[in-house]
Symmetry: D2
Subunit: 397 residues, 4 copies
Amino acid sequence: MSGDSLNWERSLREKGLDLRKVKGRVKGFRIETPSWGYADSGTRFKVFKQQGMPRTLEEKLEDAGQVHKFTGVCPTVAIHIPWDKCDDYGKAKAFAKDLGLAIGAVNPNVFQEPEYMLGSVVNPDAGVRRRATEHLLECAGIARLTGSRDLSLWMSDGTNYPGQADFRQRKAWMEESLIELDKAMDDGMRMLIEYKTFEPSFYHTDIADWGMAYVFAGKVGDKAEVLVDLGHHPLGSNIEHIVAFLLDEGKLGGFHFNNKKYADDDLIVGSVNPYELFLIFTELVKAEDDPATSGCAGRIAYMIDQSHCIEPKIPAMIRSVLNIQEAHAKALLVDRGRLAEAQGKGDVLAAEACVKDAFDTDVRPLLAEVREEMGIDPDPMGAYLRSGYEKGKLARG
Amino acid sequence: MSGDSLNWERSLREKGLDLRKVKGRVKGFRIETPSWGYADSGTRFKVFKQQGMPRTLEEKLEDAGQVHKFTGVCPTVAIHIPWDKCDDYGKAKAFAKDLGLAIGAVNPNVFQEPEYMLGSVVNPDAGVRRRATEHLLECAGIARLTGSRDLSLWMSDGTNYPGQADFRQRKAWMEESLIELDKAMDDGMRMLIEYKTFEPSFYHTDIADWGMAYVFAGKVGDKAEVLVDLGHHPLGSNIEHIVAFLLDEGKLGGFHFNNKKYADDDLIVGSVNPYELFLIFTELVKAEDDPATSGCAGRIAYMIDQSHCIEPKIPAMIRSVLNIQEAHAKALLVDRGRLAEAQGKGDVLAAEACVKDAFDTDVRPLLAEVREEMGIDPDPMGAYLRSGYEKGKLARG
Amino acid sequence: MSGDSLNWERSLREKGLDLRKVKGRVKGFRIETPSWGYADSGTRFKVFKQQGMPRTLEEKLEDAGQVHKFTGVCPTVAIHIPWDKCDDYGKAKAFAKDLGLAIGAVNPNVFQEPEYMLGSVVNPDAGVRRRATEHLLECAGIARLTGSRDLSLWMSDGTNYPGQADFRQRKAWMEESLIELDKAMDDGMRMLIEYKTFEPSFYHTDIADWGMAYVFAGKVGDKAEVLVDLGHHPLGSNIEHIVAFLLDEGKLGGFHFNNKKYADDDLIVGSVNPYELFLIFTELVKAEDDPATSGCAGRIAYMIDQSHCIEPKIPAMIRSVLNIQEAHAKALLVDRGRLAEAQGKGDVLAAEACVKDAFDTDVRPLLAEVREEMGIDPDPMGAYLRSGYEKGKLARG
Amino acid sequence: MSGDSLNWERSLREKGLDLRKVKGRVKGFRIETPSWGYADSGTRFKVFKQQGMPRTLEEKLEDAGQVHKFTGVCPTVAIHIPWDKCDDYGKAKAFAKDLGLAIGAVNPNVFQEPEYMLGSVVNPDAGVRRRATEHLLECAGIARLTGSRDLSLWMSDGTNYPGQADFRQRKAWMEESLIELDKAMDDGMRMLIEYKTFEPSFYHTDIADWGMAYVFAGKVGDKAEVLVDLGHHPLGSNIEHIVAFLLDEGKLGGFHFNNKKYADDDLIVGSVNPYELFLIFTELVKAEDDPATSGCAGRIAYMIDQSHCIEPKIPAMIRSVLNIQEAHAKALLVDRGRLAEAQGKGDVLAAEACVKDAFDTDVRPLLAEVREEMGIDPDPMGAYLRSGYEKGKLARG
């Protein structure tokens, strides 16, 4: 390769990639941001309060609207019940619409009511189990009102000590509750079942890994799929492999993007291990191109779920969106033909280099062009910071 | 509790446990030892050669016979093909029988042929894939000859680098091969599908976790079940939960017992974390008592799979058997009624204490009694060491 | 070993252990409980409020007094500033004395003030650094007033993102602050420097491991030693080895006991991995017996630091104390002569068995005897639960 | 940022970086390759033999010479004793010189002799300890003959079971042996002490982490420094922080570069987590620029230590060198002034972006220019593959 051969345009040309198509896919890639990502959050030790935090769903939508305004690709906002509970969801929907937004996934909360200390839908107390299931049903109803396709279920249930509970009894209760929820959901709605290795429980989690989420999704049926949160695996997990496996099974329903170095750190996506993020996108792009998996891939809900403990919330969200776009754009630059050839010949180094070459390419100029074509500032972060919105937020009191 | 209340006999009485039944279950619990556990093994850095190692299947069976002789509970021996390949399996079977033994699970080897560098049944080369599948079919044939019920499949395939291979293509090849194997297996035979998080591959493993093994087992059908090797999980996995989950799904087929602190350390079972082993047995005993799971639990193959790098092999195996028996006996002492009551009331500390109390009980006197009733020495390790067999082995040259 | 040889008394006799000495060491082993362990705590997702929680230092001391009353071995209580800040520490000291207690280690808090979001003594803002150091100095003053020997420093500082801060500059600031604190401490006081692999920061922690704590302790000088919290290591750490290493260096100052399966789970000590706890005590007992290390070992502060998210606080504390006592008593039963002999001969299995044998011994009857000799109930948990104190707490409102 | 602002040249200009200096530092950065990296290696399950492997030190040097020829930055080769033992080191040195090479670090082997099963310099047998120490002394002698500055010590000693050995006794033996070695080393020689969390031992490793290596280095004195192997940490370690800490202490002596996803996977450096590699270089470059640390930083031995199990050896080595150069070049592009400013203001996102921006820059064109200025092919991998050397190797038989 000569010195200038790595320019991204020439690189595209050499690979026979159609620039317009690449740009089109980048433009068409939508990322959902979470209402709670605009509010204060923290660790068990401290929630550092920042000024100008949104106090209502409306204010969270306004903040989310900024992210969409400057990135152009974040038109939906996930909500969390009861944090975003409203008297009038129609009004909220209309409010969002005026901002160019729509309500996205509805996220029930089964970890915060005092009764849930020992579990929600798997609580030893039948009354608590009922109440938790009713909450899920309520959320299905809210999704109907908000026009949301997806119910995003993080069942945080688990135990802290050996012997505390009966694993299999709780498994049966979980299944029962999810099946009841399924029946209450309209056709076209989806139940995204999240898994997590630990936290807030420290001995066992009822849906601890993708395999358990997959089994539950299978019991529920066609509406249920698995949701992958990038921070919910043990260290030493190959997430892109899990992603490919679920795609192949037609059961990958969505993502909660964030990044981790240790546990469920909920950091800005791509900030700790950008290569991992790119490798995940390499699988996603490939699955979109493959008729066997394109149906599943096409339905995936791409959502951010982060906890911005020390950084300003809107810039952190913009940063996350940009990082996702970079990973996506790089994945689009993989020379699939050359890769398949190297794989077929067992040429390990050539195959590895083929993937890494796309990652090493600086796609920021490409993304800047895409943004200009979309009529937004090529530098969303700079534009947002210059907009004065951050300062304006302070007036919220 | 008063000072002497913790004597195991009184403890049993207080819990209303039937001593005879407990003893009966201990006596009836069978553990399979592996032929390769009697031979030299080591790390990638060094295999330290010990003297008197068995050179043939017959000599390995003789060593395994010693373990059965002194423990009374190890009547079967797993074999590994091609390491234990024979001209005449009928003869080997008869040789085993004369030692009071039978051939147990047949273990194919898909990691050692030079062609398998980039994979066996998922190799990019169709010829290699064919050869690997033929090896699996050969092993099914051997199982028929040895009268073995179980084919124990550790598919070690994986890759070392991002991009090296196409995950989903390999998944399809894996499925294809296992289904072909299934068709070649007699009714009543079982295919035990093992999973492993990493090693010998360091980027991805085609069957990396229980979920993947479970999915493959589901594709294959009724004959296929999942095999749990205690060393094949990422750190921070709750194995007893996985065990309970698989039992509930009716898909737990067998165990490879050993212990780990870091990776797949293959140490003596119970030597690093004896409480974990006990908690696994707590699930197993419970599943045996429950009609919903007793069928699956009753079929489980309990096998040891260790790598004795620095210790004498036969004593290490005896030690492992004793540790398993202790964990099993302790699990039989859990006061299930009191536990269920505490769980039902959400009394976390009482439930935890109920399980821990059984673990804290010293069951060695109970096991000594059991052994005397079985007509063997109450101290198997001492009896073996005094027997002179270790010294006799040295004559092997 | 014959069937009944494992009775603990006979076991002691066979090992030539002096029962009176063993009992004496058990009786003499003191465990400090933390004031904050009696109050509500939780995860970032939820603090489940329990009824009857202590609202003042006095009420926390009352609760701690119950633990001491029923266990007989917990006469000191660690305090946390500002949570336990008082107008009159002399009065608090006297209040404690009336309950048979004394104030133990003083724990500064450098993680909760709003200014500390980006660090305390290593904050980029010099004013914040000053304020944080002043807080440390204030705590040294409080220790003087409460007659506490130990300042227990958990410097929670760290960063969340690559590039966020300059590691080496922060190292210099940390050193500077600790040295200033050292100068303010009286002779005879100790600075216990804690380390932690992650949380509340998720990219780097300024004192991330024992090596960093050790280096800082070395810069500070003789008053400074390292504090080992059992939950503050990466998975796959051999804590007993670190303990032995620090003992050998004369720099092991104290423990924060708890247990973990994943991260800093802060569960009841001994509840997840009791064997690990025992192995740590095996090193501690050995170091007490060795003139080369007995000085250091004799100074160690044994403290509990747990977070009881779902369980009643006082019973959880009693349970922890009992588990520590069991681990200690078992460690006292190791046949040191036989162990040294086996180690010397390189008899791996005999050495391992020697240690494991002590662990497998049920020491609960021994502990019951010890308690009777101490004039307390042989069953502390039962006695406490029967005492009515839990119910009485509810009156606190 | 506008679309083309990210071109690396413009980026340099904007940051006020001196292109000539950047290029100069890239050109001046030397990487040592290991003789054993050119030969077959594998896992405990299988060493896949490749054709044309070097059979002698001379042939390994020839292979290493190729890496130097095409990269221009690998003029030294680490040797391993006894694998590279010679009758005449003067001759080997001359042979190397003719290839434009020199012998680099001498690596003793204390893991392969049959006597070392239970340890080398810490073996329970005094005779074995003596023999192991003699081997270290022999290697110091060899270093004198080869003109090597560095002795690179990986003390692989450890144990597999609790109780197997006395940690503190072994610590004393380790210290004693290293001090004896130190006395035998000439002034100007260095002892690089490596640490490793586990493997080949699975319970404890005598030098398990950087803290232990640091303590031993301190006992030995000025000649001893710590060697960081990127694969030798538990998952969830911040290596760049350790690197910065050791630099600050003036005790960072060298690197063994490679990459890992799970354990000590020994993969091509930068192939799993390129961002981590870059962050390490960010610390190294900074330390070179700082008078307080430039002395230590200037002495660092940058060495590759990998195990190429499935890939061709020379290309794998070239790939590793290129990846290191990219990480280094990117680290040189960090805008240090802007970074310090953002850090000083506590602007987390700006600081993070500043570091990430350098990583995202495609430095391959810059490196191509550098190579052209050095008179070598701008594409070392392509040039090597076209050279015919791989094919020529096959003639070795």
